[in-house]
């Protein structure tokens, strides 16, 4: 049955390739788009799962036991690669393949909400067969079941969720509690923000009293202008990805916009570093597993998703990552395995803790291009 699955994937690939070639012929060549979301394929779950499985994920996003334990439990051989460093870069890298209906051997890719949606809109991911993952149906947290971008979780399953907020060195910047405090001249040159536009700009919008999910293009551009002047005055030192952890550890910066899980890992080395929920709230996001078009062995991919949604398998993953776990029942497992983490608000945030938080805004098309260009112009000033 793996053979038929492969043959089907191959057939699909050939059809997509043909379509791409035909498009290229009409359009005079160049880079062409996907087939669009109207004709998205749906995965067919064909038990029992077996064979090989390639998973593409972000670096340092899994404990060392999950993969071998999954292999022992199912007999599936996993090729786990950490080649996602940035949503946009990953799309740019994969697009030539995906637009031809190929996934480069990957059966699971992990990308953030807005990119999960974008890839679906481009026709680059398949809808899931829920028959293959009863644990996901049973244990996915209520608040994650109906996100705006995928109301029925047809094509995405959260890997981990998290919060974007303040990471503060309490010795250097004891009083930073609001995003507005980052613009205080006493921290000039000691402040950093994220290169991820959908984290940084919405947080600054919230500080301005704008709801990022209802913001107009002009409000995006005005907020980006505010960042631009903060760069020009030397207030913002630079924009970073995960590499802010080095600047934080070296004591080069006092307060930054960063991700909740990183704060916990930084704190392990330096007790003066902590995550702070900004007074205006945080940005909530999830990184989602998706099955790309042309994925070999989607049955094994669904088996993997199902496996990590068993609370006792999720527990070591959640304990390693310190991000918000999307799986219900982990807290109960922690009672015996990691009692120190049971009340960690970064892994199990209460509704009250996140009450003012927003999800990442959805911004697409020409507006996305205009805003991205303005933001990248600030990063590369």
């Amino acid at each position: 049955m793996r053979l038929t699955q492969r043959a089907k994937a191959l057939g699909l690939g050939i059809v997509a390739l043909g379509a791409a070639l035909a498009l290229a012929a009409c359009g005079g060549g160049g880079i062409e788009g996907g087939s669009g979301s109207e004709n998205v394929e749906t995965v067919k779950y064909q038990p029992p799962p077996s064979g090989d499985l390639t998973v593409s994920n972000w670096p340092l996003y899994i404990d060392k036991d999950t993969v071998p334990n999954f292999e022992n439990a199912t007999g599936i051989k996993v090729n786990y690669i950490e080649d996602v460093n940035d949503n946009q870069e990953f799309l740019a890298k994969m697009q030539p393949l995906l637009s031809k209906g190929q996934s480069g051997g990957r059966s699971i890719i992990v990308v953030t909400d807005w990119m999960a949606k974008k890839m679906h809109d481009l026709g680059y991911v398949q809808n899931l067969d829920k028959a293959g993952m009863p644990n996901v149906t049973a244990n996915l947290r209520d608040d994650l079941q109906h996100p705006e971008f995928d109301p029925n979780r047809d094509f995405s399953v959260p890997w981990q969720s998290g919060m974007t907020g303040l990471i503060v060195n309490t010795q250097l910047a004891p009083n930073v509690r609001s995003i507005n405090d980052l613009f205080d001249p006493q921290y000039k040159g000691k402040v950093e923000m994220l290169t991820e536009m959908r984290d940084t700009v919405p947080l600054v919008m919230k500080a301005e009293g704008i709801d990022p999910n209802k913001a107009s293009e002009q409000q995006w551009l005005d907020t980006i202008d505010k960042l631009k002047s903060a760069v020009a005055s030397g207030q913002i030192r630079r924009f970073t990805g995960n590499d802010y952890t080095r600047d934080m550890a070296n004591g080069d910066v006092a307060a930054i916009i960063g991700w909740s899980g990183d704060a916990v890992q930084l704190q392990a080395d330096n007790p003066n570093i902590e995550f702070r929920m900004p007074t205006e709230g945080c940005i909530l996001w999830s990184d989602n597993m998706e099955i790309p078009v042309g994925a070999p062995n989607p049955t094994a991919a669904e088996a993997f998703m199902n496996y990590v949604y068993d609370p006792k398998n999720q527990a070591p993953l959640a304990a390693y990552n310190n991000y918000v776990t999307p799986v219900d029942g982990v807290k109960e497992v922690f009672q015996t395995s990691n009692p120190d983490l049971v009340n960690d608000p970064l892994i199990f945030p209460t509704d009250q803790f996140t009450s003012k938080c927003s999800t990442q805004p959805n911004i697409t098309g020409e507006e996305e291009q205009t805003v991205t260009r303005a933001f990248e112009g600030v990063l590369n000033g």
Binding site: G30, D86, E89, N250, D252, E366, G381
Partner: protein, 292 residues
């Protein structure tokens, strides 16, 4: 065909056979991509749907939008090249003429950093230049930078990184041209009553020019297109043209603008190299006949 003909034909074909793999490589991995990039630079549209329609305005738009980063790249790279030359020449001279039995060890020391990857070496500079590191502290004590001043995330840090990373490319060609120089030429100059300074300026320096020209080109060209140093050692106001091209390709997925900018960079670079070689003399690059 006679035997002689065969031999003559083979003689004529051998050079082509030897050039073959190189030419094939260049066609496959340089000419073909260049063609596609040239095409891409004239397309328009929004990712992933671009149309080829001779959009020449991509070039003027891209240059107008990013001229600051363009000039900054050339400026950083030129400064790094000059500093590199000032460090490399005395060092290469010392190794070539005063190295003695330590010559190989010193050369090894020059190359040793290459055993570590480029990225790691640059990241190490992040730690060296850190706000609380000893370099910044020393400079603050000496009053060379203000007490709340810093090096990391500034232009000088980027230039320091560029200088460091490309230094071996400067040292090795200069060393090679000094090493093959006949030391008796300097003795002859001195026999003819020239001072050490005159001997250096009239004999050693001209003979080492091929190395200097090669070294400066090998430093200047890659340093101008570099983006790693600006990314890790620079701040938000130190972006070079390489950072912009990277952002256009991977973040903004504006492939036409990125391709156009790459072409402008390539053209400007060719022009500069052309003028430089004209100025320095092409013999300087190719090397003059060294009298035995």
């Amino acid at each position: 065909m006679s035997h002689e003909h065969w031999v003559a034909l083979r003689r004529r074909l051998i050079p082509y056979g030897l050039l073959g793999p190189g030419i094939l490589w260049l066609i496959l991995f340089f000419v073909v991509p260049l063609y596609f990039m040239g095409r891409l630079s004239l397309e328009s549209g929004i990712f992933p749907e671009f149309r080829f329609d001779w959009t020449f305005s991509n070039y003027s738009d891209a240059f107008k939008a990013y001229d600051t980063q363009f000039f900054r790249a050339f400026q950083y790279s030129a400064v790094a090249t000059i500093i590199g030359l000032l460090i490399a020449y005395p060092l290469a001279y010392a190794i070539a003429f005063r190295g003695g039995r330590w010559k190989n060890a010193m050369l090894l020391a020059v190359i040793a950093p290459f055993f570590t990857t480029y990225l790691i070496r640059t990241l190490a500079w992040e730690t060296i230049l850190s706000d609380n590191g000893f370099v910044v502290n020393t400079l603050q004590t000496l009053g060379l930078i203000s007490s709340d001043g810093r090096l990391l995330a500034t232009g000088p840090a980027v230039i320091a990184g560029l200088t460091y990373n490309f230094l071996p490319f400067m040292i090795l060609p200069i060393y090679a041209s000094l090493e093959r120089m006949d030391a008796s030429l300097v003795e002859a100059a001195k026999d003819l009553y020239s001072s050490s300074r005159q001997a250096f300026l009239k004999v050693t320096l001209p003979l080492s020019m091929p190395g200097v020209v090669a070294g400066t080109l090998l430093t200047f060209i890659p340093a101008t297109g570099d983006y790693i140093n600006a990314q890790f050692l620079g701040g938000a106001q130190q972006a070079m043209i390489g950072n912009v091209i990277q952002s256009l390709y991977l973040k903004q997925t504006d492939y036409p603008a990125a391709a156009a900018l790459s072409f402008i960079l390539m053209a400007v670079m060719l022009l500069i190299v052309f003028i430089y070689i004209r100025f320095a003399g092409s013999e300087a690059l190719m090397g003059e006949e060294v009298p035995d």
